[in-house]
């Protein structure tokens, strides 16, 4: 295998593993927060339904955690195996948050073990709820620390390079790099938002399947409220992320907006398709919007692709990814808003079938937005693995067996994905909420 192929397969394997891990990781970051809110409401209002929500979510959560843990272990090792040069360089400068992440894992793992096995051990339910706090903090900190590493790849700082060696390393400066604040905040907000909408999807699906229990209505109201709050937060932070890009990674912004020529009062290109390299067809142009997105003023100058040599421009298809992410974000926010207004005005349509189907769609759609967002961020950083410092093609392994490993992992993810889906479906189908409520009443 020549080097080009090794790079290609390493890329594909990295993309595959991350695309798969992020599904479980996102859920892993967001769901503890929702379990916490449900349990808290249950204790505060003395409402058995919320307690049961917390219990059932936890049972599903542990399955997704398991897959999150094993795929995470896979990436952790794979990054070293596939990108040895990158990890050697990066290890010198950004090892600190990676290392701190393992403590977050420890923390989460230990308290999750305790939480799972102590539902009935404490007289005072509030004590049990407290155990969830470290779980939620640990999960969110994992996301924070790993996103710091990723933001370092986008805006590396905190070291100098002399003769190919890193000197004057400042670990804290490397952690708190320019893209860190928006990135971390956006990743967290979207993880909470996505988890909330996924749980809303499940509730809505049960209602569609004929369960008319008030339990599902409570679940729906709670999850959509949370989802709405965080989807609005995600959009606001996303706007800041755009402003960050304009300042520090203008080539990524220009590529994702199909902004070819540097100009003032730039307009925003929505949708459209690209022909012959740089002809935009069927798009909608919103005057001044890009200048506002990038700099906050309608007349500001926005740097275009013309300022960059061709070999440093990321693939232009990220425009589609950006559109997918933003459209889903706005659509889901709108849906949540309509639901809550409908609920407030006691309208019937929010429990009609078509509306419930829309809610069912919101969870998977949010997950698609997560995937689109990450692909946008990562492909938009190309050709760099460490922006401005190390090119992706120079960082890959020189090993000959990457293609075999790719097939091996494709097999693994198919098995894991299917099995986790089957287990989750069976878990809830064999134990519907009506039965569980009756059991708990009977059993005392």
């Amino acid at each position: 295998m020549d080097n080009e192929q090794a790079v290609l397969y390493s890329r594909m394997l990295t993309e595959l593993t991350l695309t798969f891990h992020i599904i479980y990781a996102t859920v892993g970051v967001g769901i503890p927060l929702l379990i916490f809110i449900a349990q808290w409401l249950g204790i505060k209002r003395q409402d058995e339904h919320y307690i049961l929500l917390a219990r059932r979510w936890t049972r599903g959560y542990i399955i997704t955690v398991a897959v999150g843990v094993v795929t995470g272990t896979a990436i952790g090792l794979q990054l070293n195996l596939l990108w040895p040069t990158f990890m050697e360089l990066a290890g010198n400068a950004i090892a600190l948050p990676l290392f701190m992440e393992t403590f977050a894992f420890f923390f989460e793992a230990i308290f999750l073990g305790i939480y799972l096995y102590t539902w009935d051990r404490f007289e005072d339910q509030r004590k049990h709820m407290l155990i969830l706090i470290p779980v939620a903090i640990g999960a969110s900190c994992s996301a924070i620390f790993i996103t710091m590493v990723n933001s370092f790849m986008n805006s590396p700082q905190g070291f100098e390079i002399a003769n190919g060696n890193l000197i004057n390393v400042q670990p804290i400066l490397a952690m708190f790099n320019p893209s860190m604040p928006t990135k971390v905040a956006h990743v967290l907000a979207t993880a909470y938002m996505t988890s909330a909408f996924i749980l809303a999807s499940i509730g809505a699906y049960r209602m569609l399947k004929g369960s008319n229990h008030v339990y599902h209505k409570k679940a729906l109201l709670l999850t959509i409220k949370v989802g709405l709050v965080f989807s609005i937060a995600a959009a606001v932070i996303g706007d800041f992320a755009g402003k960050y890009l304009a300042e520090y990674q203008p080539e990524k912004l220009a590529a994702m907006e199909w902004h070819f020529d540097t100009e003032e009062s730039a307009s925003l290109t929505l949708f459209g398709i690209l022909q012959n390299g740089d002809e935009v067809k069927y798009s909608i142009k919103i005057p001044y919007a890009l200048s506002i997105l990038a700099h906050g003023t309608p007349t500001a100058e926005v740097i275009g692709l013309d300022k960059f040599p061709a070999e440093n421009i990321p693939p232009l298809y990220i425009h589609y990814l950006f559109n997918i992410m933003v459209m889903i974000g706005m659509g889901v926010t709108f849906l949540g808003l309509v639901y809550l207004i409908g609920k407030f005005l006691k309208k019937k349509f929010i429990h009609r079938r078509f509306f419930l189907w829309l809610i069912v769609a919101s969870g998977p759609l949010s997950m698609i937005a997560i995937e689109a967002g990450w692909w946008l961020a990562e492909v938009g950083r190309q050709p760099w693995v460490l922006r401005g410092i190390l090119r992706t093609e120079d960082a890959a392994t020189t090993s000959d067996q990457v293609d075999l490993m790719l097939y091996l992992f494709i097999g693994l993810y198919i098995v894991l994905g299917l099995a986790s889906a089957i287990v989750l479906v069976r878990m809830f189908r064999s134990n519907p909420i009506e039965r569980e409520l009756a059991d708990r009443k009977g059993g005392g």
Partner: protein, 338 residues
């Protein structure tokens, strides 16, 4: 003490932690599967389930901690080992993934069937075997550099007696460590039949474990005389370790103080493991990489050590809590509380 020495000691300590708790886990899975095979499941699976359920995820973190830590402290290991371990480490990852997730699926997702028990049990033996290859490679002689590419010579690796002795050592120690622990655990649970069965396993694996360990030293003499010489210098550590081994087996033989027996066993392995580690010093990969060449910058080292101390202060109380609630809690072990 220099920073690199602190770093490698901490990592070695965590690797040791992983080896002990993962051995218990891997062995328990194996004994569980074996008991199904021989229709003795009713005797021990209850004990094994009660132990494993709350801790399996923690076990995994020890491993993650080790490999993240070693890349943090010694970034060059990412370059050397990352390149050569692509295949062996990927296989370990797949095995770990299957095993970990199917444990969760069957325990929490009620996916009950003997097939998973076997899969879980036997994959647990392949993992230590495949991970132990790393130790073999670190002895040198299997890696060469050609046009500045690092290449692992699989043929020499898989035909070397050293490789296979280390693989066998990893298996026998896994089963021995696990059996001793479970004997103790079962005795705390006041489960007579399980205690007796595990005691029998512990005794039958003790001899193979010590024999293979001695075998390695002999193999090394051929393979890496320099390392062998340094091992011999540390003869007194191995002697202590051997005496501790005798104490453990004696206690188990006499059916006395199983708890003490397990603790002595931990010390036996700790001493042997550190003796091995010290004699390996200063090489991370013989003869290409030493801990001073591969070390990170001083600023990063200090930051990592500070993070480690802070993290450790968080960790200790949490570990004590989980121990108090489950592992050292008689009522839990005996099944009086859930």
């Amino acid at each position: 003490m220099s920073y690199e020495l602190i770093g490698i000691s901490v990592l070695w300590m965590f690797l040791f932690g992983y080896i002990i708790i993962a051995s218990i886990d891997f062995g328990a899975g194996f004994f569980n599967a074996y008991s199904v095979l021989t229709n003795k499941q009713h005797i021990i699976s209850n004990i094994i389930q009660r132990y494993l359920s709350p801790v399996w995820e923690v076990t995994n973190v020890f491993l993650v901690f080790f490999f993240v830590g070693i890349v943090g402290f010694f970034p060059s290991t990412a370059y050397f080992y990352g390149t050569i371990l692509l295949v062996p480490a990927s296989i370990s990852v797949v095995l770990l993934a299957i095993r970990g997730s199917y444990y969760a699926f069957s325990t929490y997702g009620k996916l009950k069937s003997n097939f998973w028990t076997y899969l879980y049990g036997f994959s647990g033996l392949f993992i230590p075997a495949s991970l132990s290859i790393v130790l073999t490679i670190s002895e040198g002689g299997f890696v060469y550099i050609e046009d500045s590419r690092i290449i692992l010579d699989y043929l020499t690796l898989f035909t070397s007696p050293l490789t296979w002795s280390i693989v066998i050592l990893s298996l026998t120690s896994v089963l021995y460590i696990s059996a001793v622990f479970l004997t103790w655990y079962a005795s705390v649970a006041k489960d007579e039949p399980a205690t007796e069965l595990m005691r029998k396993y512990a005794l039958s694996w003790s001899l193979p474990a010590i024999l293979t360990a001695t075998g390695i030293i002999v193999e090394l003499r051929m393979h890496n005389p320099e390392h062998f010489a340094r091992l011999v210098d540390l003869w007194w550590m191995f002697l202590i370790s051997f005496v501790l081994f005798l104490i453990t087996t004696r206690l188990i033989w006499l059916r006395r103080s199983y708890g003490l027996a397990f603790h002595v066993l931990v010390f036996q392995f700790l001493i042997a493991f550190f003796a091995y580690g010290i004699s390996h010093y200063p090489y991370l990969l013989y003869p290409h990489l030493t801990i001073t060449e591969g070390f990170t910058s001083e600023a990063m080292a200090i930051a990592l050590i500070i993070a480690f101390v802070a993290g450790f202060c968080l960790l200790i109380p949490s570990v004590l809590l989980i121990l108090r609630l489950f592992l050292l809690n008689k009522d839990y072990i005996q099944g009086k509380i859930k």
